[in-house]
């Protein structure tokens, strides 16, 4: 291994600019003549728009334009789309209502985009936005997923009973039979709490129309700029793709929320032309982020697990109501279906699984993919069931899991997925060892002396990531293919530029991708630059989400590097007067087999460009597209230990252990950071974060950090008690043998934490987030029941 190659914990190249304040985010960019957009948003959860009077606002100082849905319609600009078609059990297509970029006729959630003011300054735009007079006629609203199909609030006329689809996966009859003959059935009612993504950088956009070239440029906070360009061109109909450049510069966190195409960025582009080509900038304030970023999770589930008399699982049955919010966001429909139910087999051999999902409209912000996207929801269902079943069967939860682990691969589950490789027992063994699981009894006794209830909880997660392959996702309803692209440009001095269709917004691609190049070409990572996030520079690509940049994106780079090496061998062969077949490339040097002739990488690169030896095509620039054969399947075990304060219900995570199988690691330091960050988000979901809409008013009650509780350092286990370990079964479908690590922490942790608290206080069910109030109430319930 070279010092900056694959497997080395190289410090991140990009951090110098981030920690010295030199990052360049969308809001840092200011274009000549730039104007500012401020949106008029709905104060109502559900209302008919009777009229919008823009006259006063339009006459205010600095105002360049006040636009509403009718202006958008005048220019025939299309609405936002949902790019994944789901069919109901009865074969009908999902029932999607329109999602205009500025409201037409109705508003459907608090924060819905009603009108926009463009002015010389942000303050002028804000003042004029406050003067736009919208007259509303309030309609009945519903914010609760569980009530969506029975409420009188009808969000979209296209979806009767607010039901977007009623979808099923698996063999319903066989699963029913398994339950009929089960020795034991464990049932749980489970709510997966709605979360607000809270990326550190709020969403922002600058739309700029060039009147001279009839060309648009969009700077935006996006995880996938090419997809944004495609959608804005093909569906909004603003302009053809070659007339639109989308740039996603440094992006300060996404967690999924910046995958989607949002109204604001389309409006900024469109409005720029409307105001004569002045660039139009919009930056969300924090309240707008709370109100209008796509939220995550929000599932209400009934789950059942059937076991036989030997403690083997015979069936799993799930019914889930998934809130879509008020509109279908870009990939909303696939999250509670193909990203969720397909993982319900967990790490277990389950012969019969049936899942049914009702997706529903509610008067809330749209819900879409958020770190893990469907897989945390699946893992939560499976792992809460596993722990509860083990306790009911009086089996050790670790042993109950082990008894049901899948042990031979490949393994075809009853819910589409074909697991390619894994060793679940090895991860469990290592996790139990690292967490000192066998001595937990002693620690419980010690904690009791301090007035604390110690509890331990396990979670054995699996996820499918490296989202692809195109044919598979296409057959399941995806409107796009999910491959990735790469280009390798070798400069005359031998330095290398990598152009990738993936996008880094915290993942560290500038380092890890360079490590791969360093490894393959034998050059230092400082001689490699990574270019991404600009549709004019980079070939079409699919972006970053679903832990795909490594497994899919780096595979494309690897293929392009293969081609570049082949081309360089041709050059070297010409220079050393040998046959290309006799050229060997190793450790950055080309040699002719059986001779002492040798040229290093940079010398060959130079010869490729000076081209003084005739007979080959000059230059080394190669590209590749890669469409993998399967998902990748990271898996692992989390062990959480908590202390619950008997008096107050306050829960502290005192010990946390993760053992993950991500296959081969490119940069262990970055992988560890991903796991720790993911666990922080999972602890956030389990203990702290609640997105609360008021049932009566439909207002978002948790619209600031005064009420929305983000995880802090003090909510994490202390460093010595937060243990990470790895096992490795290399992924057979990519040459690096790697899986994905971006979401695992957030997927595995919520059930581990809740399993630990329920163990500590002796309750069966406990809602997330398990705040001190919630835990205290659960303990009160126990006391009352005991009396």
């Amino acid at each position: 291994m070279n010092a900056t190659g694959v497997g080395a914990s190289v410090k991140r190249k990009e951090d110098n600019r981030f920690i010295t304040g030199k990052g360049r985010y969308t809001d840092d960019i200011n274009l000549k003549g730039q104007a500012y957009a401020v949106f008029v948003r709905s104060p109502h959860a559900h209302a008919e728009i009777k009229s919008i009077n823009t006259k006063k606002a339009a006459g205010m100082p600095g105002v360049l334009g006040v636009f509403t849905g009718s202006d958008v319609a005048e220019d025939k600009i299309g609405g936002l789309i949902c790019g994944w078609m789901i069919h109901s059990k009865d074969g009908s297509a999902m029932k999607a209502g329109p999602h205009p970029i500025l409201a037409v006729g109705k508003v459907r959630y608090v924060g819905d985009h009603v009108a926009v003011v463009v002015a010389d300054s942000k303050a002028q735009a804000a003042a004029a936005a406050a003067a736009v007079n919208v007259s509303y006629n309030a309609l009945p609203h519903n914010v609760d997923a569980a009530k969506a199909m029975s409420t009188k609030a009808q969000v979209h006329k296209e979806a009767a009973n607010n039901n977007v689809y009623n979808w099923g996966l698996g063999d319903e009859a066989a699963t029913a039979a398994a339950f009929k003959s089960a020795a034991h059935v464990t049932k749980l009612d489970i709510v997966n709490n709605r979360l607000i993504p809270n990326a550190m950088e709020p969403r922002a956009a600058i739309g700029s129309y060039d009147t001279g070239d009839d060309h648009y440029t969009l700077y935006t906070t996006s995880q996938n700029p090419h997809v944004a360009r495609l959608v804005i061109s093909a569906f909004h109909g603003l302009c053809p793709e070659h007339k639109l450049r989308v740039i996603a510069p440094d992006v300060g966190g996404g967690f999924g929320s910046k995958i989607f195409i949002y109204a604001e960025e389309v409006v900024c582009l469109w409005a720029s032309k409307r105001v004569g080509g002045r660039p139009v900038k919009w930056t969300a304030d924090r309240t707008e982020s709370f109100l209008s970023d796509a939220h995550g999770r929000d599932h209400v589930t009934k789950a059942e697990l059937a076991t036989d008399s030997s403690g083997k699982i015979t069936g799993l049955r799930v019914h889930t109501i998934a809130s879509m919010g008020a509109y279908l966001s870009t990939f909303a429909s696939c999250v509670p279906t193909y990203l969720y139910a397909t993982l319900l087999s967990g790490q277990y051999n389950i012969p019969n699984i049936y899942a049914e999902v009702d997706a529903v409209y509610t008067n809330t912000s749209p819900v879409d993919a958020y770190r893990g996207a469907g897989r945390p929801e699946a893992t939560y269902v499976v792992e809460r069931l596993m722990e509860t079943a083990a306790r009911e069967l009086k089996m050790d939860p670790a042993e109950f899991r082990r008894r049901n682990f899948i042990t031979s691969f490949p393994h075809q589950t009853p819910v589409i997925m074909m697991y390619d490789a894994g060793d679940y027992g090895a991860a469990l063994d290592k996790a139990l060892e690292l967490s000192d699981y066998r001595n937990v009894k002693a620690r419980k006794a010690e904690a009791a002396k301090r007035g604390k209830l110690r509890g331990v909880g396990l979670s054995a997660y699996i996820e499918a990531c490296g989202i692809a392959p195109s044919a598979a996702v296409g057959s399941l309803g995806a409107g796009v293919g999910l491959w990735e692209s790469a280009e390798v440009r070798v400069n005359p001095v031998g330095t290398v530029e990598i152009l990738t269709g993936s996008h880094s917004h915290g993942q560290g691609h500038e380092t890890t991708f360079a490590q791969l190049v360093s490894d393959r070409l034998g050059i230092d990572i400082n001689n490699v630059s990574v270019v991404h996030g600009d549709t004019d520079k980079v070939q079409f690509g699919m972006g970053t989400y679903g832990s795909r940049s490594g497994a899919v994106g780096m595979h494309a780079i690897s293929k392009a590097l293969d081609k570049a090496i082949t081309k360089a061998k041709t050059v070297a062969a010409h220079c050393m007067e040998a046959s290309a077949d006799d050229i060997e490339f190793k450790d950055g040097a080309f040699t002719v087999t059986g001779t002492d002739k040798k040229m290093d990488w940079s010398a060959v690169a130079l010869q490729a460009y000076v081209a003084h030896k005739p007979g080959f095509e000059p230059g080394i620039k190669e590209s590749a597209f890669h469409d993998p054969a399967n998902f990748v399947f990271p898996a692992g075990v989390h062990v959480c230990e908590v202390d619950v304060d008997m008096d107050t219900g306050f829960t502290e995570v005192v010990r946390y252990t993760c053992v993950d199988d991500f296959g081969n690691l490119i940069n262990p330091m970055i992988v560890e950071g991903q796991v720790q960050g993911g666990v922080a988000q999972g602890i956030g979901q389990a203990l702290l974060e609640a997105c609360v809409y008021d049932e009566d008013s439909g207002q978002l009650l948790t619209a600031s950090y005064m009420d929305y509780n983000m995880p802090r350092a003090r909510n994490m286990p202390s460093i010595g008690e937060f243990k990470l370990g790895f096992t490795c079964t290399p992924c057979p479908t990519n040459p690096m043998g790697m899986k994905g690590c971006g979401e695992a922490g957030a997927i595995g942790s919520p059930p581990a934490v809740i399993n630990a608290i329920t163990d500590a206080i002796g309750v069966r069910e406990l809602p997330m987030p398990a705040t001190p109030l919630t835990v205290w109430q659960a303990m009160q319930g126990m006391r009352k029941a005991a009396e």
Partner: protein, 265 residues
Amino acid sequence: MENFNYHRPATVAAAAALLKKSKDGVYLAGGHTILPTMKQGLRAPKDVVDLSGIKAMSGIKASAGAVVIGAGTTHMEVASSSAVKKAIPALAEMAGKIGGVHVRHKGTIGGSIANADPASDYPSACLALGATIVTNQRKIPADKFFTGLFQTALKKGEIITAVSFPIPKRAAHQKFPNPASRYALTGVFVAQGKDGKARVGVTGAGPAAFRVADMEAALSKEFSEKSIAAIKVPPRGLLNDMHATAAYRAHLVSVLARRAVAAAK
């Protein structure tokens, strides 16, 4: 934020005169409440009278019987004052737990008390220690000062100039922070005076800070955890929101009071 006239007088009298002259004026101390409300457009005063230039309003003086803290003294100054740490360590500790570092360096005792946020910490200390709120017009006993949700006995234009805390025999403060905002979801300050009488001040739980008479009576007889172990606070009238029900807040008052008694020094 709307435009306003900014004033920074050097004396209490000048500040009071400026406010009297203004049609719609406010005093600015640390600014942690008024500035956010102005930024959000919830308030748009014509005149902002900054009290931070008044030298006479800052500083800490300790005598044998009391610690007198100028109203313009920051939380950080109180937390790190050797005089406060020596005379009333519980007060210094409490000040050191208000907000975050930035807040403690800007926020002042006078501003906090005048604002009377139901979740702020100082009101519980004022009640438990039997403090006197000194203004440019009079002296107000803490018991008469906190009158309701963000309501105080202060008259329009009246300025708190200092707070005088009698030195107790022992005292302690316990806070259970709101998980999100870190304000006191419930906070209890317990003090036993040199005369042996105990006082219990509660913040965060009700619309205004209040005392718990039953606990005070029991603790005055015997200052021990045991003596208040069975005393429950009725939830009626306490705050009820998504973070804590009235019943939970009432329960926390009992728990925190016991812990404060155990920690009192």
